[in-house]
């Protein structure tokens, strides 16, 4: 919403209010200032009266003007064609400095002396008001040659752009903004009253009639005019340009200007559309069952109230007979109806859907004033009306309640004063209790908290004393809080193991997920309006996102790329779960003096070690995960406490190639399984333990975990631990391999004797010989 200081001044006297104060007030009452711009016009720019214009002898497009600039006549060469029609113009005289540091000096144009410049609006830092130079008229004030242009308040104006919240349709017009200011600044509104000077020739009922059909939900007023000629004032042009409305049509300009000033929605019809067979103008507002009101012409729809207008019904400047309509429809009814019917909406819909001004006669009087001033027009007496009995909302307001919502005592007189200025009607009901009648233009106000908001914004939040809340003591460390703490711990460990935390979109590319064999969301549960092709579904793995991040880093010449992410993934029924995913790509280490600048690539063992540093102890078994990222011979299930909770793998070489990244390892684990479990301690022995190595030869096909399973099933009390320490294969072993396992034996009661140790080792050898055909080496 754009307003200007001089425009506001038509409704409220702001002469004692500085721009700074205006800016501050707007922000403090909830009309946020987006931008504020003061138009500065150089002292040397003055009103010039054109005395004569003749063509330049040597240039088709140039004109030689003699212009009275107050201090005398000047010869100025001007290139704009419309200078021919001008009487008063803005002249930058010698010495003027225009925006862009453009200084006006004596010049000779094609051999003709020129002492100044006739200005277009944009050359003075004003918005573009149309082709050619600015043609001034009395709409900005009395014109006299030599008058400094910056003395006209509507030119040297302050332009303010407000960012309105969705509930403030009442401030989508200059009048509404002025009303808010009147309450905040404690200033009275200027009364607006206008009665047409010209005596109407005929009553409207003689030529036109109105018949409604169905339940009317809109207020409508129609007035009829005969139009001979219509001109446009410079002020209207300039202000519409400031507001950013670009309309060539002069009648339409006047309507747009009136709507922006008053908030009343206006449309102009060529009466042809309403003329029936008997040459009578018949207007048929017709309500349908969806709450839409169509203004029916003789054969077709002329407009839909608050929504759009049929192109053919629009009255243009050459139209001889014009029907002007002012309308109001409640925004909530309208918005719902439009959503249900899918009707096309025009520019006015933004205002009607947010709430226009219901005071139709105000808008029409304002228009009358403009019409009488700028047009050669005659109007019919009276109007065709549809008037709805609307009940205003009444809110019972208890001052004590308002004070408790704000947290500060507020005086009754303050509340009454504020509401009164905002246009609320107040009826006392008892001590500090009032029935407040809400004006129609504040359809957003429904209960006492809404009223409190009005009080808060006008007294200013910064004038409310902050007060800490006293609150019942209660433990509030719940599971979610705990989970955050634990997650943070995992993250910290991951950064200790070199990983960088990644955050990526919870979206993914369906094609990629399908290609790599990850679950897809069922078709009828899919996203209906994805924002981009590569983000067209919810992810079922984080790994694809991480690989994309790796690819980006490779292009930034990163050699070692360790990333992790904890985040949501979704199953085929869109069920949400949380996983922790890792990717490590390229060099294990940076190039440094220790590795002589030739760091190793990441490998399975180092990757496993890093994952362990984050998630703690785990067991690895051949991978049961089937997806396109997994390397079939270098991948494993990650098992914690006997439960499979994820996998780690070398990235499949074909995927590595298609992402164009170096050797990469990946892992993804269910985060729930990683949540720490309760631990009970087991006693430790005071006696010395002993390490024993055992080398066995077994089939190459036997994985270590199968041996470990056998060892773990042994019921030998003194066998505390066992783990592989060497693996050896060569030609002489054929399809066998040699595996060395280290055992740790310890008793709770005593230091073990040699024979006891030997006995345990023999038991172990026996079972391995039996269950996996192991031979001692």
């Amino acid at each position: 919403m754009i307003i200007t200081r001089s425009w506001l001044n038509e409704f409220i006297d702001l002469s004692d209010v500085s721009d700074e104060k205006l800016y501050e007030t707007f922000n403090s009452i909830g009309l946020e200032v987006d931008s504020i711009k003061k138009i500065d016009i150089d002292d040397h720019v003055v009103v010039g009266k054109i005395l004569s214009v003749e063509k330049h002898p040597d240039a088709d497009k140039l004109n030689i003007c003699q212009i009275d600039v107050g201090s005398g006549s000047r010869q100025i060469v001007c290139g704009a064609a419309n200078v021919m029609d001008a009487k008063y113009v803005a002249v930058a005289t010698i010495g003027a400095v225009l925006p862009g540091n453009f200084e006006i000096k004596h010049a000779k144009l094609r051999g003709v002396e020129s002492e100044g410049m006739v200005c277009a609006s944009s050359e003075l830092g004003l918005p573009h008001t149309g082709k050619g130079i600015m043609i001034l008229d009395e709409s900005i004030g009395d014109l006299e040659a030599g008058q400094k242009l910056h003395t006209y308040p509507s030119i040297a104006d302050t332009i303010i752009e407000l960012e309105l919240t969705a509930n403030r349709g009442d401030c989508l017009c200059v009048y509404g903004v002025a009303r808010d200011l009147s309450s905040a600044l404690e200033l009275e509104m200027k009364p607006f009253e206008y009665k047409s000077k010209e005596k109407p020739k005929l009553g409207i009922a003689r030529v036109a009639e109105l018949h409604t059909k169905g339940k009317m939900t809109a207020d409508l007023t129609f007035k009829l005019f005969n139009m001979q000629d219509i001109t446009n004032s410079f002020l209207v042009q300039l202000r519409l340009a400031i507001v950013g409305v670009d309309i060539q049509d002069r009648l339409a300009s006047l309507l747009a200007y009136t709507t922006h000033s008053t908030g009343v929605i206006l449309r102009a019809y060529d009466t042809k559309i309403f003329r029936n067979e008997n040459d009578k103008i018949v207007v048929n507002p017709t309500a349908n069952d969806k709450g839409i009101i169509e203004i029916m012409g003789n054969k077709e729809v002329a407009s839909v109230v608050g929504v759009n207008q049929n192109e053919v019904s629009i009255a243009h400047d050459n139209c001889k007979e014009v029907l002007i309509e002012a309308s109001y429809i409640h925004p909530e009814t309208l918005v719902e109806a439009v959503a249900n019917t899918g009707l096309d909406t025009d520019d006015l819909y933004y205002k009607t859907s947010r709430g226009a001004n219901p005071d139709l006669s105000f808008g029409l009087k304002f228009l009358d004033l403009l019409m009488d001033t700028y047009t050669d027009i005659s109007h019919y007496d009276g109007a065709l009306d549809v008037s709805i009995a609307r009940e205003n909302t009444t809110v019972i307001v208890d001052i004590k309640e308002i004070s408790s919502i704000i947290g500060m005592h507020v005086d009754t007189s303050t509340v009454v004063n504020i509401l009164h200025k905002l246009g609320f009607e107040i009826n006392a009901m008892g001590d500090d209790v009032f029935a407040v009648v809400v004006p129609l233009y504040r359809h957003d106000i429904k209960h006492v908290q809404d009223i409190s908001e009005e009080i808060v914004r006008i007294i200013g939040i910064n004038n409310i004393q902050a007060k800490p809340l006293v609150f019942p003591e209660q433990p509030r460390l719940n599971n979610t809080t705990d989970r955050y703490r634990i997650k943070k711990e995992f993250k910290n460990r991951a950064t200790g193991a070199l990983f960088y935390e990644n955050v990526s979109y919870v979206f993914s590319d369906k094609v990629l997920l399908e290609k790599y064999g990850f679950p897809l969301i069922e078709e009828d549960l899919e996203l209906a309006n994805p924002i981009a092709e590569e983000l067209n579904t919810l992810r079922s793995t984080i790994l694809v996102n991480l690989l994309n991040a790796v690819k980006g880093n490779v292009s930034y010449s990163k050699k070692s790329i360790p990333l992790f992410e904890i985040g949501a993934v979704f199953g085929s029924k869109r069920e949400q779960s949380e996983v922790i995913s890792f990717v490590f790509s390229g060099q294990l280490d940076g190039a440094n003096v220790r590795n002589s600048g030739k760091p190793y690539s990441i490998n399975f063992a180092s990757f496993a070690q890093k994952i362990g540093a984050v998630i703690g102890n785990f067991e690895l078994r051949p991978c049961t995960y089937k997806n396109g990222l997994v390397h079939p011979y270098q991948s494993a299930d990650i098992i914690i406490d006997g439960q499979v909770c994820g996998f780690m793998s070398k990235l499949h070489p074909t995927v590595q190639e298609s992402f164009d990244i170096p050797v990469t390892y990946i892992a993804e684990l269910d985060f729930d399984v990683l949540m720490p479990k309760h631990i009970n301690a087991t006693p430790v022995s005071k006696f010395q333990g002993v390490y024993k190595d055992l080398s066995i030869v077994i089939d190459k096909t036997i994985n270590y975990y199968e041996v470990a399973t056998i060892l773990n099933s042994l019921d030998i009390e003194v066998l505390k631990d066992s783990y592989p320490v060497d693996i050896y294969e060569d030609e002489t072993l054929g399809d066998k391999k040699s595996l060395t396992i280290r055992f740790f034996l310890q008793s709770m009661e005593k230091t073990l004797e040699d024979f006891e140790i030997e006995d345990v080792m023999n038991q172990i050898i026996g079972i391995l010989e039996k269950q996996c055909k192991a031979q001692l080496r």
Binding site: L477, Y505, I531, A532, R574, Q576, G590, V593
Partner: protein
């Protein structure tokens, strides 16, 4: 005697000194043989002889000790020297990853409210119309829905556009008093220089008996919170509009880049908008079946906080896993 002392002083290594020690103090050493002569010394002179010997022994022992310490020190110095390295070569070996600045900012925010006895609550990312809009006083066709461009699913579900549905879920599941925050991931269908389709919010809600929770309370906690996050800044409240709070306000801090002078980042206003807040709208309480309560709520965008706090210039870079950005937070 002089000769013996000289031997000690001239010993140039611990080995030589050890040989000298054996020669002098050993069982068959010089001193031992001198003491052996005692038995031949006539009675009256025995005392003086012994005293003389002991004195010589003490002198020799002292100079031996001095020499020993000196040689030992030399020896250690030699070993130490042989182990010398250029330590400055290894400073670059130390490596560590880094937490994501947005997540770290979120943790910092959570820390503050947990310390003030707020519970942390969560909810699903895929929501329904009731929890995300309807119960928050955003009925269908409400113009404020335009502010939140929504991702919908084919079955009518949607991706939550704010963390506020967590308030609704918590209120439906528990009874007041409530004191909670809801940190989480939210989605809006918007993608340009200043918008990403996914970002993070932290939402807060406090509910207690009617007449107890006021706007003044909200002002108190948020002013303190913003000073905790941004240091010594000025805090300004501006009235605003949110469907789920009434009265509502937006909260600004004085620009931390130009200290209020006006710069590009604060659009020359001297202020940065960082929070939205307000008194819970009675329609929200009605939707969850609460009666005779009062409450406040607030919400903030974590990315905005992180970008301001760490002067991160580009929003979209936060979601690209760019190590050049992340490694700055090690």
């Amino acid at each position: 005697m002089k000769e013996l002392e000289e031997k000690i002083v001239l010993a140039d290594s611990l080995e030589t000194l050890e040989k000298v020690r054996v020669e002098l103090f050993g069982k068959k050493g010089v001193l031992a043989s001198e003491f052996a002569k005692m038995k031949d010394v006539p009675g009256p002179e025995k005392k003086a002889f012994a005293e003389g010997l002991n004195k010589n022994k003490a002198v020799l022992q002292a100079s031996f000790d001095v020499r020993y310490e000196a040689l030992k020190a030399e020896e250690i110095e030699r070993v130490l020297k042989s182990e010398a390295i250029d330590v400055s070569l290894y400073g670059t070996l130390a490596q560590k990853g880094a937490l994501h600045p947005v997540m770290e900012t979120m943790d910092k925010i959570i820390d503050y409210f947990v310390a003030l006895n707020f519970a942390v609550e969560t909810g699903p990312m895929v929501e329904d119309d009731f929890h995300n809009f309807e119960a928050l006083n955003l009925p269908k066709y409400h113009p404020a829905r335009d502010m939140q461009d929504t991702f919908y699913f084919k079955d009518g579900g949607l991706l939550r556009t704010h963390t506020s549905p967590v308030q609704i879920r918590t209120m439906l599941e528990t009874k007041p008093p409530i004191r909670m925050i809801a940190p989480g991931t939210v989605f809006r269908r918007d993608f340009d220089v200043t918008h990403t389709p996914m970002f993070h919010q932290v939402e807060g809600l406090v509910v207690d008996d009617k007449g107890t929770v006021s706007f003044a309370n909200l002002k108190s906690i948020l002013t303190d919170f913003l000073k905790y996050m941004f240091g010594d800044v000025e805090v300004r409240f501006r009235p605003s509009f949110f469907p789920f709070t009434e009265p509502s306000a937006e909260v600004d801090i004085s620009c931390i880049f130009c200290e209020g002078e006006g710069c590009r980042i604060c659009s020359h206003t001297g202020w940065l908008e960082v929070l939205g807040c307000g008194i819970v709208d009675p329609n929200v309480f009605k939707a969850v079946g609460y009666e005779d309560v009062s409450g406040y709520a607030f919400g903030l965008g974590v990315e905005r906080f992180a970008m301001l706090m760490h002067k991160i210039p580009d929003l979209r870079s936060l979601f690209e896993g760019d190590i050049r950005l992340l490694e700055q937070f090690r």
